[in-house]
Point group: C2
Chain length 764, copies 2
């Protein structure tokens, strides 16, 4: 089994290498630091593509509560790092990339020198704890490599990874009191009692294993580790900060704090002492496992047997290089390339591999399972990623996307609720956000013939999920054609998203010849009409009695029946039926001005203040790019007589919302969805309705792009007369033949060929 | 693997059946109720020999703290049941038998009728919760069968088990509101925060799985279950009593209390609702696993596939019958037989099987292991059981005892501390009591050629354990020849017990030709001399500077350097060298009066009050039979010129300390050690020094006994002129030849034969 998986991975790599021509080193354009300031919620540390480990510095790990109240700053630390901060707390092994909610931050390690301090200290007084000051001038952040000088200890820390192993290289000054601290209490989103249980076992003077059970966003999670040191530690010790210690009466039998081999309690820390020479390097490798300490040890020994830091770093960077070469672009400016390849980087971090090298993983049912013939994934932020990330993966990572679909099916099979994943976090379900958006990912893969399990079983899983009457208003949705305001605070978002998801089920059913399913769900897909209020011209919460809710503010995102969006934006959420939507809204004569207004109107500050997840820059008029519900909106002009406005808007959004700087993202990257939008849009097309098999034409920002596809095919985007001003598409050729429509099909793309754009500064 | 184990077990059973001649049904003499009153700490419920499940009623589950202070009553509820109590809280699946400390009580189930009550209620007002009144007149307690009528609900509950499955049969009255409550919060020794984490998964309307992680006497323990119902429940629900519920904001997506399939939190309860007809039986089977929910399910399906309660009950009773027939006795009174076979029953409950049917178990290192070719055991209360229980098992359960020794070796291999077990509780080490008493068990097995692993590896494990300088004073013991008063509160107990254990190592080393080990440890075995204070005539705490501690009270057990014993009793703890002890204490002229005084002196009440674990009845003069340190003491007269006093004392102790009534045990049964003492002593001999290969002659209480041995051999104890008054051994024949010594050897016993005692009312 392990051989098989390794072989599959190797084959996938080989294919990639064969496809790409590494004429230039694309990792040089990757800037992981992008989005680490303000609302991007990305992390600057090291990871390989889709890696289980994301080894990155924490500049703070805000506590969920401060003085007994909710601490609003917790939100800033979803990825553990904020660019403005002046101190580093330590380096932990798991991080979300761009989420709007926090968890992880497992197994924080920090090198220190001098008197032992086991508390982390404060940002204002880093010397009060093991925390250290640092400056960005002493910081290097690359794909799979992070380096920083810790000013307080004069230790230089370098980090790199394999899929399941974090590799630390610490260069110490001369000291009799060098320490490495392993803080098992630290974590991102430090909800009180989040740490349920921790265990540490010092196996010998270079090997430590353990685990932590947490009750956080993943409500029922255990993560195991195996940690090895390049140099034996001289001594070690523990501290136990748990409220209560059971059977401490028996502790007299040993000194269980100093050089004792194990400790089990909710709140513990460990330290390891060394004597170091000036410039001496101490290296650490920590492997993770969702299964067991032995699984972690096996991952460690299989993936990172030696101590050659540079080799591991280079191997991971080559993995990135191979991934980045799947789309080779030509662009006028370095900025464009940095934006593009940083987007590629951020898009290919998630979902994350979730299994040991032997294929074992812990399922959502709490049992250990073995991935048989596929790679199992988690971190499915599906409300975000069904839109563009999974369609992108279908093109450049077809094997991985098929395996992700299989992972969703396994989640379904193991789910106590018998549901496909909504938000899969470390093999846990947190039911975050609206809809059931495994469905469009699966339907899109079925439509595109990219599944590696029985498609009918996948369809059945979609249908069962969509018929789950007890789940967030589905019962009323089935009975009345809309989710009633009474049963869900986000009844309109849910109705609109269920309707789209149902249309996806219908498309997959059609493809598979399942007429009964098609009929049932194509009917349900019309349900968007049931929440459209002609009087106000908006989608609007509707009550059980059939009337629309009276209190209603179309600009507010707060308690209006929507989630991360207001009525103005969400009213446009009918990606599967834009023509019917336009008709519903009174035809083009009313629809185009509505769309224009969205981008140009002034959103009063009070509404901005309640818009989640974005900075002021993340918004254009009332168009909120920093959240996802409007990601398809700029492309809707294609269904009117003024598609040039799509071209104009896309080219306006691209440079405005994406900059290759720490503050370059206007909103959460959302595990790659924001980045996937960038990639598609800068290539000149976008999947408005996954499941349709079509990509709507926009306006390419690249000069040329070569997309490497399976079977050594390429799809080339060739842009003539490209310039900042030439944002309008004058005409197009597909494989030399005029393309007189505003979309290309997935078949056209995947068969390979050339799409030639002729650009102009004037629209047609 | 499973086949192999099953085959081994079957072979063991077949052997037993073949050996015994079931002329009478011996289980009829077993009274599990013995010891359930006062200090016996036994349980009245159902279990099979060495079973993983002990399914028994809780009459209370005292909380460790009451109003913020230690609750002294917690101690009474080590086995969950106190005979005086008038109410039953429910039926849980794990119980210690006779321990002096509490834990377990996992997965409490209770049938109720009427309005749903999820709190347990109080003993004074059982109607205030799900608790019910009951009376002993409606109670049946047999080997592997327990029955009681619950007065409040009118439900009759019947319990039986297989090794890993508890089988409940509830006969309900007619009701639309019949419930079965599964209280996952309840446990014995309810230390605050003892419940670390709980999970429940309602798989379908007849199957529930889950687990509980506890931090109790076993500090780091998870127990999994699979529960199945004979009738589908109409509905189910949960209650969550945890202080905090993470992400309850998302609970709006479902009603997660009613008919929801899962819940994970520290403090939860579940209920299952039925409509029942008058007299309708609802049956439940709950399987346990230390490994996983799937392991529990596999145990359930393998061991108890059907719903025939009587068949399971009968099968388990037949297992007991087979075990009991290993020693067939003739006795004058039913009382004698009840005492004997109840002792056999209590002796063969522990240690307990600790592995799934597929051989998997969770080791003391927290990893999953597989028992390869042996049965893995836990519940080693070794400070108690090395004395007589394991020697007994070596005779009548040689295969099991060898597997227990192997289990100890596996524990050693997996132990982070690299130590043999001290007190193994559910695969955890709690280091309870003094000494390292795996050693005498292992040495005794080596001496008796009853090990199924490499004996040299066993010896090495003993040596490594005994050289563990950091463990409770071993460092000072090695350096100075005694554990100093400064490093251990029980320095004298430790010194004496280490010395005995070391002598055992020397015996095993001698047998294996390991001269260096022999020399090292035979020298250490003399260390008992180093804590003997000639001035006071007692073993006495000794300081680092070599002087004896000044403050000293030879009658007190409180902070005098001893554990569960005072200097008067512990001074006699040199079981391996009685002759040297007598010499040390001034020869027979001083030793015999000392021993006489022990049994006849008056112990002032203030000293009794501080003597743990026993009732007033558990003490004879200053001789404390209710605790273990003096269990060999009555036999020490054999090393003087007055062995008749041994005979007299033994025959006095037997009826005084063992009665076939609820209050029949004068102290904790201590997982069978008290019972094993009864069995040996009533047969007429006792293993004063395990590892010696000898049994000291006492005075038999039986008329005749046939011990069935391996290889179809028997050892018969034939007692002539037996009567209550004829307690003195006039002469003995071994296989017809005069036996002119005060011991028999293990070889003589195990080869089979007949030991004939001629009794008299006058001593020689």
């Amino acid at each position: 089994m392990r051989y098989l998986l390794t072989a599959l991975l190797a084959a996938s790599l080989t294919q990639a290498v064969a496809q790409s021509k590494p004429s230039e080193r694309l990792v040089n354009y990757v800037k992981p630091i992008v989005g680490t300031q303000r609302m991007g919620h990305t992390f600057p540390g090291a990871t390989v593509p889709f890696g289980m480990v994301q080894l990155s510095p924490e500049t703070d790990t805000a506590s969920y509560e401060l003085n007994g109240k909710y601490n609003p700053r917790v939100y800033e630390y979803c990825a553990g790092y904020q660019y403005e901060d002046k101190t580093i707390v330590g380096f932990s092994h798991t991080h979300f990339s761009g989420t709007g909610h926090s968890d992880l931050g497992d197994f924080l390690v920090m090198p220190t020198v001098g008197a032992l301090k086991l508390n982390s200290g404060t940002a204002d007084h880093p010397g009060s704890g093991y925390r250290s000051a640092f400056s960005h001038s002493n910081e290097v952040s690359q794909a799979n490599y992070y380096k920083v000088k810790l000013d307080d200890s004069r230790v230089t820390a370098e980090l790199t990874t394999t899929t399941r192993v974090g590799f630390h290289q610490y260069t110490f000054p001369k000291s009799d009191q060098s320490h490495i601290i392993l803080d098992l209490m630290s974590g991102i989103y430090n909800y009180p009692d989040k740490n349920v249980w921790t265990y540490i076992h010092v196996v010998n003077d270079t090997l430590v294993t353990g685990y932590r059970r947490t009750n956080g966003w993943a409500r029922n999670r255990v993560l195991y580790f195996a940690l090895t040191f390049s140099k034996p530690f001289a001594q070690h010790g523990f501290a136990n900060y748990s409220k209560r210690e059971v059977y401490n009466g028996f502790w007299g039998k040993f000194n269980q704090r100093k050089n004792f081999p194990e400790l089990a309690a909710p709140q513990i820390k460990a330290y390891f002492d060394f004597k170091t020479e000036e410039g001496e390097k101490i290296k650490l490798k920590m492997a993770l496992s969702p299964v067991s300490m032995e699984g972690a040890l096996n991952n460690l020994r299989t993936e990172a047997p030696g101590w050659n830091f540079d080799q591991i770093k280079e191997k991971g960077q080559q993995q990135w290089e191979d991934e980045l070469h799947k789309i080779e672009i030509q662009a006028k400016t370095r900025t464009d390339k940095e934006n593009f390849y940083t987007s590629m980087y951020h898009a290919l971090i998630n979902p994350t591999i979730y299994m040991d090298v032997d294929g074992q993983y812990k399922g959502v049912d709490g049992n250990i399972h073995k991935a048989d013939g596929y790679v199992n994934y988690t971190t499915f932020s599906l409300w975000d990623t069904y839109r563009a990330l999974h369609p992108l993966l279908n093109i450049i990572e077809p094997k991985r996307n098929a395996d992700m679909v299989t992972s969703m099916l396994m989640h379904y099979r193991q789910s106590p609720e018998q549901m496909l994943p909504v938000w899969s976090n470390s093999g846990n379900e947190n039911w975050c956000m609206s809809g059931y958006h495994s469905v469009p990912v699966i339907a899109d893969a079925i439509i595109k013939n990219n599944v590696n399990v029985n498609a009918n079983e996948l369809l059945d899983a979609c249908v069962t999920t969509a018929r789950h009457r007890n789940y967030e208003g589905i019962g009323t949705y089935i009975d009345k054609g809309y989710v009633t305001n009474e049963v869900s605070g986000t009844s309109v978002s849910n109705t609109l998203e269920y309707a789209f998801d149902d249309w996806c089920i219908a498309q997959a059913a059609k493809k598979l010849g399942r007429t009964d399913i098609y009929n049932e769900f194509i009917k349900r897909s019309e349900n968007f009409k049931n929440v459209y209020d002609k009087a106000s011209g908006f989608m609007r919460p509707r009550l059980n009695d059939g009337t629309f809710r009276k209190t209603f503010d179309a600009l507010s995102t707060n308690n209006q029946g929507f989630i991360e969006g207001n009525a103005w934006n969400y009213t446009l959420f009918v990606p599967h039926q834009p023509t019917e939507l336009i008709e519903l809204m009174g035809g083009e004569k009313r629809f185009v001005p509505y769309l224009d207004s969205l981008f140009t109107m002034h959103l009063p500050d009070k509404y901005f203040a309640e818009t989640e997840d974005i900075t002021r820059d993340g918004i254009i008029g009332n168009y909120v790019h920093g959240n996802e519900p409007s990601h398809h909106v700029a492309y809707l002009y294609n269904w009117t007589s003024q598609p040039w406005k799509t071209q104009e808007r896309v080219r306006m959004i691209l440079p405005k919302m994406y900059k290759p700087t720490a503050d370059g993202l206007g909103g959460n990257d959302d595990t790659g969805q924001m980045s996937a939008w960038y990639i598609f849009s800068s290539l000149g097309f976008y999947p408005v309705a996954p499941g349709s098999g079509q990509y709507a034409i926009g306006s390419p920002a690249v000069q040329k792009a070569t997309i490497h596809l399976a079977g050594n095919k390429t799809f080339v985007v060739d842009v003539k007369n490209q310039s900042e001003k030439n944002v309008y598409v004058q005409r197009m050729l597909l494989n030399g033949q005029p393309l007189n429509r505003l979309y290309i099909t997935d078949a056209e793309l995947m068969n390979g060929g050339t799409l030639t754009f002729y650009m102009s500064s004037k629209h047609k």
